[in-house]
Symmetry: C2
Subunit: 382 residues, 2 copies
């Protein structure tokens, strides 16, 4: 009997949060925190529904395109279109508007690079947002750096986080975390929607993480003339032969292997696992958020052949890494859970130590990766 | 006779560049250099016409809204709308698209803050673009800095350019230029569409300017609770009491008056002139680009009353400023030419020395200000 009541109350909850057309919407919408200055829309309510609004007097159909679903808006007598989504997961989501078939950014938000474009984003307030809040603690700098790559014969850009105090402590040297974005994203992601600077500022101020530099480069790198997405990546060569020497020359870094970490999300997790395993003399810490190098396969891994047997010698891997970290959101779509599971089963079978973190109720999105960074950074350089 | 020929050839030139509907368009369009990665539109041709393209199959009217003019686009059988503007002036322009009455950013470009919004921009290649090109010279860093203002009781942000070599020369101290944006713009403008970092990189590499820091803050500052645009500005207090002390504490600056310059564009020229004149012990250099503190008046100025008589004692002003610089585009709209002219007439009458620079064929836009900075920076700290 109790089980039946539970079942029906769950069903009613699912209807209320999952099917907005049948449900009353709670009218406590507030402007998203990543809106442009002075812009009232988009908004988010306590049910985590997203409401957008745009004036388009002559339009026939206006839609909100969010999380793979297109929601029809309705027009008022002034030609202003308004409408809302179903409840969203906590955290940051990319979205766009559709005006009579034109897919465009919402003029209400600031813009982010993701999904292969500069476009709109919405911040659905997370219950644990405090760890990446802008707080009254000492703040580091996030610096944009242009550099010419001889390997790609092109200008490239990276962002470098230097912690509070870097400018004052003229003789102090710092360890470095190299932190990579995912596919269809770029070097701006971790410093912008990823909140890397604020996460590190807060961790360092609380004494939870040691002061460190974080370098965020662009993970797309191909030989000159090869521009297609199918061209072979030379990101590993660019990072190892150009970026790391440049950072060690231009910043006061510690350059031993125990002072260097590498991590990435999704495609970046895959890339950086290759780089960490190919260059054991350079990295003592690895973080893979929502991805491993067996992607997209969910098949069992054979340690004698996977990545040319790099995980075959468990003892050597356990010596190499002071921390080997994996992170995943519990709501991630196929194939990510299966991919990471297959990798972990290989690690377990081999007896290789690793830290595993699950982000509750988040998908293949930035709240998963903010949380993973917040768990990973305190483990570094200790 | 010669005069008549000249007249008619000028008329024919005006028709060809000024009235696109009568003119053949030259089909040598190229993607704008501030397009998103991989985006083919918007484009610019050798006549400096801007062509945009967007898919909007269900739309009735799609327009390009550029330079105060709305240009109708035409739809092809696939629902893709294309069209172009009249010839534009060289340099950077803000614009937007209009889809059935919805004013939206063009999904083809990266975005810039100006005209009171984050929106699209187009770069019409300038014949002298080399001075702000990304070249193989040593590059400085452009750093984003969050700080809490006790005066406004709010988080604020500034950007700080540090020149190449700042990280290496641990004991060297640098002079500082404080550089302000115009109205409806923000602290991102000078570092983004203003190309400040590239202009300084190139000038310093060529030995034309001395290595300096450039600090770009947000010119909007009001007391806590006062948020309307009509609230009294306390930017001067924020700059003098919070920003300058913070920069002098966090960076290796030279902090004497002869090592500090202040400049701004439009509203920022007006603000920084007030600040320079109110704080003679702090600034030995002033730059006003497309603006002076008599704005918007074009009436003759009385030096005994203007700015509380700050320009009355010509001898003192000539001693105070090692360089007093004014810049203006020759194509600026009313009232800017008249405003600056009235100010210069007062300066001439008083016998106060100043450097005057005119940017050829540019309006109240960023190419004027890039050029003005390129002329001003070499005069500093020498």
């Amino acid at each position: 009997m109790k089980k039946q009541i539970l079942f029906w109350s769950m069903m009613s909850w699912m209807v209320s949060v999952g099917l907005p057309s049948f449900a009353q919407t709670v009218e406590d919408f507030k402007p998203s925190e990543v809106n442009q200055p002075g812009k009232l829309y988009p908004q988010v309510n306590s049910e985590r529904k997203v409401r957008v609004q745009i004036s388009a007097p002559e339009a026939k159909v206006v839609q909100l395109d969010l999380g793979g679903v297109k929601y029809d808006l309705t027009k008022d007598e002034k030609g202003v279109w308004t409408g809302e989504s179903a409840p969203q997961q906590e955290g940051f989501h990319y979205y766009q508007l559709n005006v009579d078939g034109a897919a465009v950014p919402d003029p209400g938000t600031i813009y982010f690079y993701g999904a292969g474009r500069w476009g709109s984003g919405i911040e659905v307030p997370a219950h644990d947002a405090d760890f990446y809040a802008l707080k009254d603690v000492p703040h580091g700098l996030l610096s944009e750096m242009n550099y010419y790559s001889n390997l790609t014969k092109a200008w490239r850009r990276c962002f470098v986080y230097t912690p509070a105090g870097y400018g004052d402590n003229k003789d102090k040297r710092y360890p470095v975390l190299y932190l990579q974005h995912g596919s269809f994203e770029d070097e701006t992601g971790w410093g912008r929607q990823g909140k890397t600077n604020l996460i590190l500022d807060n961790l360092i101020a609380a004494g939870k993480a040691v002061p460190m530099l974080v370098v965020m480069d662009n993970g797309y790198a191909t030989k000159p003339g090869e521009k297609s997405p199918f061209a072979a990546s030379i990101f590993e060569e660019v990072l190892m032969n150009e970026v790391i020497p440049m950072i060690d020359a231009k910043f006061r870094t510690l350059s031993g292997r125990e002072d260097r970490a590498i991590a990435g999300l999704s495609m970046g997790a895959n890339q950086t696992m290759h780089i960490a395993m190919n260059n054991p003399g350079h990295f003592a810490y690895y973080g893979g958020f929502s991805g491993t190098s067996n992607y997209p396969s969910t098949e069992p891994l054979d340690a004698t052949t996977f990545l040319n047997g790099k995980f075959k010698d468990a003892k050597a891997v356990n010596v190499q890494f002071k921390v080997f970290f994996l992170g995943l959101g519990t709501a991630e779509p196929h194939p990510f859970p299966g991919v990471v599971k297959a990798f972990r089963q290989m690690m377990d079978k081999q007896g290789i130590k690793y830290v595993y973190y699950e982000s509750p109720d988040t998908a293949h999105e930035w709240l998963t990766w903010r949380r993973a960074l917040n768990e990973f950074a305190p483990l570094l350089f200790k």
